[in-house]
Structures are given as C-alpha cells and as structure tokens.
C-alpha cells in the first residue's frame, strides 16, 4: 500500500524542511504543493525529500489540497493523508490515522484534537459553532470539524473533489463525505498550539468569511 502525504504550503520556508523530513520517515511519499510562496518554500521542501509542484499564483489551501490529491492519484497513492506545513501535527500519529483505512474499516479518517489537547476557551466556542453547523448540514456527527489532519482512501479521494479555494474546503470535505455516504471515523490527534500557530489560526472574522464562502458556493 502506498501512503502519500499531501502538504499545502504557503510561505513556510522556516518549517517545511523539518516537517517533510520528519513525515517522510513514516510514509512512502510526501507531496508538497507550494501555493505561490514568495520565499524558498519550494526548494526547502525539495531538499527535505518531497515531490514538489507549485501554483504560480496563490490559490488557497483548498485549491492546493486538490492539486496535491490529483498528483498523488496520478502517482498511484492508495491512501492520501492531508497534513499541515507549520508543524502542528505529530508525524508519528500518521500511522494511527491510516490504521482504520489499512484495516478496511473505513474510507475516511478525521483527526480530532479535542480528545487530547487543551484548546483555548474562545477557540473552543468558535469550533463548537462549526460542530453544530456540520451536524445540521452534512449529517456527520463529529467532535472536531476544522482539523487539517485527514486520511482518505484513494477511492474516497476520487469522490471528494474540493472546489472551495480557501478555508471553507474543510466544511466542503465533510459535506461531500455525507453526500457520497462514505464511511468515516475520528481518531484523537495531538495539536501543538505554539504561539505562531495561535497567531496564524482562524479568528472570528475568518469564520464569518468561511460561512459566507459556503453560502456563495451554493450560488455558483
């Protein structure tokens, strides 16, 4: 079974080398999609041992994930893992994430950080809204809806085509899991909320933007 990790990266030259070389120990292939970075993300990722490709203009995380998935499928990946470039996830947890798919129990595995790490209270409140909304719109009963750590079987990845360029892709993926009636499971993951990640994480207005994007997506 070929396990491929897809990492979208936008101006991540500081972390991408370490992330790629750490992740590489646990999987068969790492694909980094450089999303129009203005720094050395591309060469750093290549040095780390990743298969790289690049968007020549910035298109957003959702767009980069879709590109990475298509390349992974062209290179015959059996399981595709979505991973973040900023080093918030633990690479050793990849094997826990893919285990239910390898065993043939489910087609999609979603990381859940609430089962393990401490989350800042206001962030918890915002994410709570997302959980409720997801339950209403996609019918998925999840404890964590905007987690970038996911694993998909190749057949599930083929069915889930990400159309939202920006952050609304997280909700879109859940929506499409529901629509395609794919089996899913949640696995507890550790999330490091180091200062950089907190600053770069989603704030309240980003959530409003996601809601607007989701609404807009239905009109397009």
């Amino acid at each position: 079974m070929k396990i491929t990790v897809v990492i979208p990266a936008f101006n991540e030259e500081k972390t991408i080398f370490d992330v790629v070389s750490d992740v590489k120990k646990y999987v068969d292939e790492v694909i980094v999609v450089d999303d129009g970075s203005s720094d050395n993300t591309l060469t750093r990722a290549e040095k780390g041992g990743a298969v790289v490709c690049s968007h020549f203009i910035n298109r957003g995380q959702g767009a980069a994930l879709e590109t990475g998935k298509q390349i992974a499928l062209l290179r015959n990946a059996d399981i595709i893992v979505h991973y973040d470039a900023d080093g918030q996830f633990l690479p050793e947890e990849i094997k826990l994430m893919i285990e239910p798919i390898v065993a043939g129990r489910t087609e999609v595995v979603l990381g859940n950080r609430f089962l393990k790490s401490a989350i800042p209270p206001f962030k918890k409140f915002l994410l709570g809204g997302g959980i409720l909304l997801t339950r209403l719109t996609s019918g998925l009963k999840l404890g964590d809806t905007h987690n970038g750590f996911r694993a998909l079987s190749s057949s599930a990845a083929q069915k889930i085509i990400i159309e939202h360029n920006r952050m609304a892709h997280a909700s879109e993926i859940l929506d499409k899991i529901g629509k395609n009636k794919l089996s899913y499971a949640e696995v507890p993951v550790t999330l490091k909320y180091f200062p950089v990640a907190v600053r770069r994480g989603q704030n309240f207005f980003d959530y409003l933007k996601i809601l607007f994007d989701l609404f807009l997506g239905r009109m397009v």
Binding site: C53, S54, F56, I57, G60, I71, L74, E163, N165, V220
Partner: protein, 115 residues
Amino acid sequence: MLIQYFLILLVLVIVYRTFSRWKQGSLALKEFIFWLCFWAIACVVVLKPESTNFVANILGVGRGADMVVYLSVILLFYIVFQITVKTEKLERNITKIVRKMAISEAQKNNKEENK
C-alpha cells in the same frame, strides 16, 4: 434646479457612449434599445420627479423620490451579489488553470528524473 441639468448631461453622455458601443458592434440592438428605454425613463424621472408619485402610491411608498432610492438600493444589492458570484466562478476557473499548469510541470520534472 441645477441638479437636473447635471443629471441630464450625465444621462446624455452615457447614452452617447452606449450608442457608440452599439455602432462598434459590442452591444446587441436589443440591449441598446433596452438601455435607451432605461435612460429615457431616467430622463422623465429627473425632469418630472412627481411622475413617480403615481407608482409610489400604488406600492404604498409616500413619495416618488423615496421609491426611486429604495428601488436603486435593491438593484445595486442585486448587482453586487451577481458580481460576487461571478467573481467566485472566475476564481475557481483561475484555480483550474493554475492547477493544470502545476500538474503538467510536476509530471514533466518527474519524467526527466526517471530518464
């Protein structure tokens, strides 16, 4: 009133530009006639604002001028919404182009490596 002269002048300029666009062929005859009618009505509203009172009374709005403002705001909202949707479509199409280029580039590099 001075504002009436300004507005009529503005409408005349716009009509002239619409006319030249039609002559150039970048505007269909149907569209040209539509805009001509639209600006003709606008002229009537500017020169005889009280003419809108009749329609306003039917709709239950006190004054014709108020009704024109309300309708304009609704129209503008609608147009902004249309443009937003159109922009999103454009964004998605741009992504498709960028993705296609990224993937073909990656495959090209891959083939060179395997040589």
